[in-house]
């Protein structure tokens, strides 16, 4: 009590945030506004500045150089960017990245919704077991996944080619050398890893749909399929958007799978993705400045797609109302 009294005289510098709160009380919300607010959020922002903002600023800076981390660097103006636009590998990497993204995202979406609809079934036994097991691929290391999928997709001894070989007249598919076959292989690996995760997200969203909607639908004589089509799917609209956005960000970062299959992205760079292209320019070709320019280009692409996503999302949610 004595402290509060003593503080009363010093209006310009309140001793405790509690005093400030007294002046501007927010009912029901304990607040850290005032002197302690900034220190409280500081740990995040300090770490974010050091590990988030600083590297970004630094890489924008070195994008204008021929950069050698262990030697001399020289100013290179816009040459890195001009060179990038003329580099056929860059456009190849864009093509590959989007092809792999499309091949992994859309089948995955359909599968995840289907699986979630099955998991939602009230008569399903061992619910927790199924939900848990769907997440296991997601926590498996990509390297382990690659090893397993190489057994599946192997040209001579792979299981898929083994099954294809049972059909007379069908030759083995060289999954690694073909453009679309290699994209299918990588997309399958991504789908396998993420489909369970997305299933759980869809499941959570489905469980939030009130039962009354289904009851009244069945009273109106809607079949199971009609219920799914006209009750479940429209309610999932926002979740689908979320999954698409997260999938797009992930899709633009596909790196470990192609790198594990062949570090250079295949003999004709048929599965060189954008991030693998960046990595190889920096760490195999020692062109750090050029790699930084590629990083900026990836950022621009992500921004463009996010903008498109934003407008689509707005349109969808506008329709929902």
């Amino acid at each position: 009590m004595s402290l509060i009294k003593a503080g009363k005289g010093r209006r310009k510098a309140p001793l405790t945030p509690w005093k400030k709160q007294q002046r501007k009380p927010i009912p029901g919300v304990p607040s850290l506004n005032g002197r302690w607010g900034y220190p409280a959020i500081a740990p995040f922002f300090v770490i974010f500045l050091i590990f988030g903002v600083a590297p970004v600023v630094y890489s924008i800076y070195i994008a204008f150089f021929k950069w050698d981390p262990l030697g001399e660097s020289e100013y290179n103006g816009l040459n890195n960017f001009i060179f990038l636009l003329q580099d056929s590998d860059f456009w190849l990497a864009i093509r590959n990245t989007f092809s792999i993204w499309a091949l992994s995202t859309f089948p995955q979406l359909i599968m995840a919704i289907g699986l979630a609809a099955i998991l939602r079934n009230r008569r399903l036994k061992w619910k927790s077991f199924w939900r848990t097991i769907f997440l296991v691929p997601n926590i498996t290391s990509i390297i382990a996944i690659t090893i397993v999928f190489q057994q599946l997709f192997g040209r001579d001894y792979g299981i898929i080619n083994g099954l294809l070989g049972l059909i007379p007249g069908v030759d083995n598919i060289d999954f690694l050398e073909g453009v679309i076959p290699s994209h299918i292989q990588i997309a399958t690996m991504i789908t396998w890893r993420w489909v369970g995760y997305n299933t759980l997200i869809f499941l959570a969203s489905m469980l939030a749909i009130p039962d009354e909607l289904y009851e009244s639908a069945s009273c109106d004589g809607a079949t199971k399929w009609q219920q799914f089509r006209y009750v479940t799917l429209p309610s999932l609209r926002n979740t689908i958007t979320f999954v698409l956005i997260v999938g797009t960000i992930g899709g633009l970062q596909v790196f470990a799978e192609p790198q594990q299959l062949a570090p250079d992205g295949g003999s004709s760079k048929q599965f060189l993705t954008l991030t693998l292209f960046l990595y190889n320019q920096a760490f195999l070709n020692y062109k750090y400045g050029y790699a930084a320019a590629i990083g900026i280009a990836i950022t621009v692409i992500v921004l463009m797609i996010t903008t498109i996503n934003f407008f689509i999302t707005r349109k969808i949610s506008g329709e929902g109302k």
């Binding site: 981390p69 262990l70 030697g71 040209r155 001579d156 001894y157 295949g266 003999s267 195999l284």
Partner: protein, 449 residues
């Protein structure tokens, strides 16, 4: 009220400070082990030898951290940039040696010419006061050079040397009507052209079913390219007195020769197109998909591990066209290490001929210590798995035939680009000429800007 807490706080702070200081000082007084941290990959640091050294020196603790080869290279670069890092010893692969030898990058590592062994390993036969220059004579000269920078700084000491010979299946050779004795087999292929011819004859005797299942003479015809490149004296860079060297990837006749031979092997159909260290390759080894592999000494261990059912069915013959090599590692001490003396003492012990011989016998890594090459223990060593072939003798012959090659800064990525070009030819995506032109333009692009 205001003054009292202040002094109290001060007192508490002082008390706390002295207490912490006391606590921190306490363990330092006790005998603490010196920890040597090693960043390496694969089987470079052998567990058995590590334990042996710790037993010899109870005050030393060795922590070996395994990495992937490329990942470790990046980690080393970053650590050197900031001149800090926990590692006291770092391994780097020979394909990267060109990078570290160029420019001022050798400053990342301690100049081993300036280090001197202490007397800690005298009982193990390593005299005190030895610098890198004093132990240089123990090692294969061209292999030693791969750890020496262009400004003569000795960055690393070589661990093993790959060597390169032909591992072949005696049972499959017999079936195809070829000789099985290793001397007679070597006589079949004095040159690469003869090697391809023998392969053609072998493939012609395969049944259609065997052909359809992908069986052929050699695992990967593209591996011939690398073997021939290492038999020359120049690869993509030519020594011209400068650090960087002169780029000769467009003009070096050795490249054309290696390329054309590899393409000829492809079009002769002798390759099973099993990329080495790919899943199908491991499986094919046990299934007789290939009758020959161009194998460095360290690969023999892979064959044993992944095709144990083929025990006794393999033998080793000389490589066509002379000696050969593939791979090898250097161990270096980063300049920012705080335990350089302990690290250097460990290195000189670990890479001494005696220890290299132990590694050879247990893991098959072939020693870079050339003093061993006329040692009876190495020459008479026979491997049961490979039909009692005198592995030591065969590989010694292979590495002694080689000349030092100037390894330039971008050696590795240029090599990868040529490999991709051969891959396109093998997959029948492009003709040899078109693919070669693409390789050259790709390398131009790598070096530009």
């Amino acid at each position: 009220m205001n003054k009292l807490p202040k002094s109290k706080v001060l007192l508490t702070a002082l008390l706390g400070l002295s207490l912490t200081a006391g606590l921190m000082a306490a363990p330092a007084k006790a005998e603490e082990k010196t920890e040597i941290v090693i960043w390496a990959f694969g089987e470079v640091i052998q567990r058995g030898l590590k334990l042996e050294y710790e037993k010899l020196h109870p005050d030393i603790k060795i922590t070996a951290v395994k990495h992937e080869v490329d990942g470790l290279h990046n980690k080393t670069t970053i650590a050197c940039q900031s001149k800090t890092g926990p590692a006291d010893i770092i391994a780097f692969e020979v394909p990267y040696s060109g990078y570290w030898r160029t420019g001022n990058r050798s400053a990342c590592f301690e100049d081993l010419r300036k280090m001197k062994t202490s007397d800690t390993n005298v009982s193990a036969g390593i005299a005190a006061g030895l610098s890198a220059n004093d132990i240089k004579k123990n090692y294969l000269p061209w292999r030693w050079e791969q750890g020496v920078a262009f400004n003569d700084v000795v960055m690393g000491i070589p661990t093993d040397v790959g060597g390169l010979q032909v591992a072949y299946r005696t049972d499959l050779f017999k079936k195809a009507g070829l000789p099985t004795d290793r001397v007679a087999v070597a006589k079949l292929w004095p040159t690469w052209e003869k090697f391809i011819e023998v392969g053609k004859g072998y493939v012609a005797k395969l049944t259609p079913a065997e052909k359809k299942s992908g069986k052929a003479f050699i695992d990967e015809a593209g591996s011939i390219y690398g073997a021939i490149m290492n038999q020359g004296t120049t690869k993509y860079y030519q020594a011209d007195g400068t650090d960087a060297g002169k780029l000769v990837y467009k003009t070096n006749p050795q490249i054309k020769k290696a390329w054309n031979t590899a393409v000829a092997a492809h079009s002769a159909g002798i390759g099973a197109r099993l990329g080495q260290f790919q899943n199908d390759w491991y499986q094919g080894m046990g299934k007789g998909a290939m009758a020959t592999i161009l194998a460095p000494a360290w690969m023999l261990d892979f064959i044993k591990k992944y095709a144990p059912q083929t025990k006794g069915k393999w033998d080793i013959a000389d490589l066509p066209g002379g000696g050969g090599n593939q791979g090898g590692t250097e161990l270096a001490i980063p300049s920012y290490s705080k335990k350089k003396q302990a690290a250097y003492d460990f290195l000189t012990w670990y890479l001494a001929p005696e220890q290299q011989l132990k590694v050879f016998k247990s893991y098959g890594l072939f020693p870079s210590a050339s003093v061993l090459y006329d040692d009876a223990a190495l020459l008479e060593y026979k491997d049961e798995f490979f039909n009692n072939a005198p592995v030591g003798k065969i590989y010694a012959k292979s590495v002694l035939n080689l000349q030092p090659i100037f390894e330039g800064e971008k050696q590795r990525i240029i090599d990868t680009t040529f490999g991709a070009g051969l891959g396109r030819v093998a997959a029948k995506k492009e003709s040899s000429e078109k693919s070669y032109a693409k390789v050259i333009s790709d390398i131009d692009k790598l070096l530009k800007n």
